[in-house]
């Protein structure tokens, strides 16, 4: 028995079974209902190419970066897959292939690898990709398609003419119309608007339309203990506060656009949100509030992307907020 050799590693000697790739995989699983809905609702022709190219582009650029800078290839951790899927879901249906390729490259190279890779980035990579695309090619990024029965009339036609036919037609989103006419007019025109926003029968980005399916995915992750409730809740709170102050319908703002996908899957991203509960409250509230302010006052109809990115920049500061200390009375 003298030749027995034991491992010499520090305590603790037990480890939980959760791992980074498992977490990434579960996030992908949680996004599948909304993804399938997007493919079905907008049609595979308009949605599958951007989604697939986006994911492949993210994986490719991560591989390329690792090769160029002679680092171990980190594709297996699954984070590039999540970034690719999130970016793809946030593109308009029918986005050209080069948008997807450029978006993936920007997200991975500029959004993540330049900061040092997984866990080191300050901004959410998918949102960095989307923001750059939105600023660089605003026309492409705000051209929406939907099957005619679900499309909205375009602004220059006025609200009188409904789109005809069964094929995909160009259409504004609910938020664009709200910006133009206000929520009151829109809801008179389409009384079932809130319901349609909730189930997802509205024009929008590929994966953002169905609040219901996104929430199902989110609650799956919440139930598994993978994500937290604090940032999403305070995001909704911040959004509703600004909506109420400005006399808008808060429920509408919660359901419309990318509020839910951005809130539950992007603002809540581990790396780019604060560590402490106090920090997370401020972060969530701020992101929600800025989103709504951009929607109401800004030049863009949608503000989720920039709302979250602005608060991402504040995270290092918010991380200076330590939790209370054990054994010290809170004053």
């Amino acid at each position: 028995m003298a030749e027995l050799r034991f491992f010499q590693t520090p305590a603790p000697h037990l480890k939980s079974p959760v791992s980074v790739p498992k977490i990434m995989f579960m996030v992908v699983v949680a996004l599948i209902p909304a993804t399938i809905w997007g493919i079905y609702f907008f049609g595979p022709k308009l949605t599958l190419p951007p989604l697939i190219i986006c994911i492949l582009s993210c994986l490719f650029f991560e591989w390329l970066d690792c090769k160029i800078f002679k680092k171990p290839v980190t594709i297996r951790d699954g984070s590039a897959l999540v970034t690719g899927l999130l970016l793809g879901l946030s593109l308009p249906p029918g986005s050209p292939f080069w948008i997807a390729i450029a978006g993936g490259g920007i997200a991975i190279i500029l959004g993540k690898q330049m900061f040092g890779g997984l866990g080191q980035n300050i901004f959410n990579p998918a949102l960095v990709g989307r923001a750059v695309l939105l600023i660089s090619w605003p026309k492409v990024m705000t051209s929406w398609y939907a099957k005619a029965p679900f499309a909205f009339p375009t602004i220059d036609q006025g609200l009188a003419t409904m789109p005809q036919g069964v094929d995909a037609v160009t259409t504004p989103t609910a938020l664009t119309l709200t910006k133009e006419y206000g929520f009151q007019v829109l809801s008179q025109f389409e009384p079932r608007l809130l319901w349609r926003l909730f189930v997802g029968t509205v024009p929008g980005s590929i994966g953002e339309t169905s609040v219901l399916l996104l929430l199902i995915g989110y609650f799956l992750l919440l139930g598994l203990g993978i994500v937290k409730w604090d940032v999403p809740l305070f995001f909704l709170f911040g959004l509703s506060c600004i909506a109420l102050i400005t006399g808008q319908n808060p429920i509408y703002h919660l359901f419309a656009g990318g509020a839910v996908i951005g809130d539950c899957f992007m603002a809540n991203d581990y790396t780019t949100s604060p560590l402490s509960f106090k920090g997370r409250i401020i972060f969530g509230f701020g992101a929600g509030a800025i989103t709504c302010i951009i929607r109401i006052l800004g030049g863009y109809p949608e503000g989720v992307t920039f709302g979250i990115l602005v608060m991402n920049a504040v995270v290092p500061l918010l991380d200076k907020l330590l939790p209370r200390r054990f054994g010290v009375k809170q004053s």
Binding site: F7, T9, A11, L14, S16, K228, R325, G327
Partner: protein, 443 residues
Amino acid sequence: MMIGKLFHGGIHPPTFKELTAQKPIKKFPSPEKVYLPLLQHTGTPLQPLVKKGDMVKRGQKIADVDAFVTAPLHSPIAGKVLGIEEWPHPTRGKFGAIVIENNGSQDDEINGVLSQEEMEGMDPKSIQNWIREGGFVGLGGAAFPTHVKVSPPSGKKIDTLLINGAECEPFITCDHRVMMERTDFILSGAYLLARACGAQKIIFGIEKNKPDCIEKITGSIHNIPLPTQVSPLPVLYPQGSEKHLILTILGKEVPPGGLPLDVQVVVSNVQTAWAIGRNAQEGIPLIERVITLTGDSLTNQENLDVPIGARLLDLVNYCGGFQVSPEKTIMGGPMTGIAQVTLEVPVVKGTSGFVFLRKNITKEEYSCIRCGQCVDHCPMYLLPTDLVRYAEHGDFEEAKKQRALDCIECGSCSYVCPAGIPITHYIKIAKAEILLRAKKGGK
């Protein structure tokens, strides 16, 4: 009774206690040789009082030193001193140890047995001295000398003695069995400890996964002539941590850098109370203790009553050897225990058991994704992942500012980390460095 509250964080690791929880304590036969390191406690190392060739009796004091924070050593067997040599030590690599060969005689040096009247007659000071002479240390693992714990500095009043029967470490069941089988000694030991520190009441804290112990202790505490209660505790690691035990039972938080006595409390492990009670009733100092030998690579998992100084290899052979060679051998529980290099190490006073694992549990390491699991599970409200970063960068000033010294090294952060980062280890390094620098700066 529980007037305190659940602490923040904590984890629920698998307990594996079913391997040994219902196995009665077996008496390990007196070994041929014992190896007694001169450092088995937190504090000043001992000087031997015997030399090579001396004959010693069982229970005879063989090492002591003129210091306050220390605990003398007694021979667990009668026999001949073979020498004082460097021998493998479970936590120190190698350390000077007195080696004694058993001569098979029953030559005991029994200290005076204390009658009930004598116990009542002793003042706190003489009980503290009596505890010191018995060589008692905390048997939960830290091995802090008990007489120091029960000697509050002048001006500090103690009102409550907590007896820690939480036993929250996975695998380990020695305290469980001691509570079930050796209740009487625990009670008299607890009473003596309370008398020594001046506590007015005693509370036993026992995790609810040991309902048999809760019932057993509750049924016998009326024998203690002080107000005594049993507090069933929620099953949550690290419930057995002193600070968290006090918080859960009394609702008080020990201030940073402080001791339980800062909140008028003394905490003692339940087996320590047993050993002290045994000394009072049988006159035997701390020369034996109950440990758990367990893990999936051992043939028979057991709770053993062993002499201090017994060699691990002999214990393994007593348990039928290994079914499969272990990849890892741990002294103590798997959350805070120390990986062993060799089976030549002896049982020391702070040994609660040995765990033999077939497979070393590893996790592939990724970079931190800042998921915050460590923050959520830290029972001390730290931001462990930030402390890792400061330790990696050698920024120990910042680590200190971010309360690295508050860390109780429970291991919860490393356990939950999905990126497999040995967080606790990094924080331990930071703590050691901070303390070292403080020492240097002080000179």
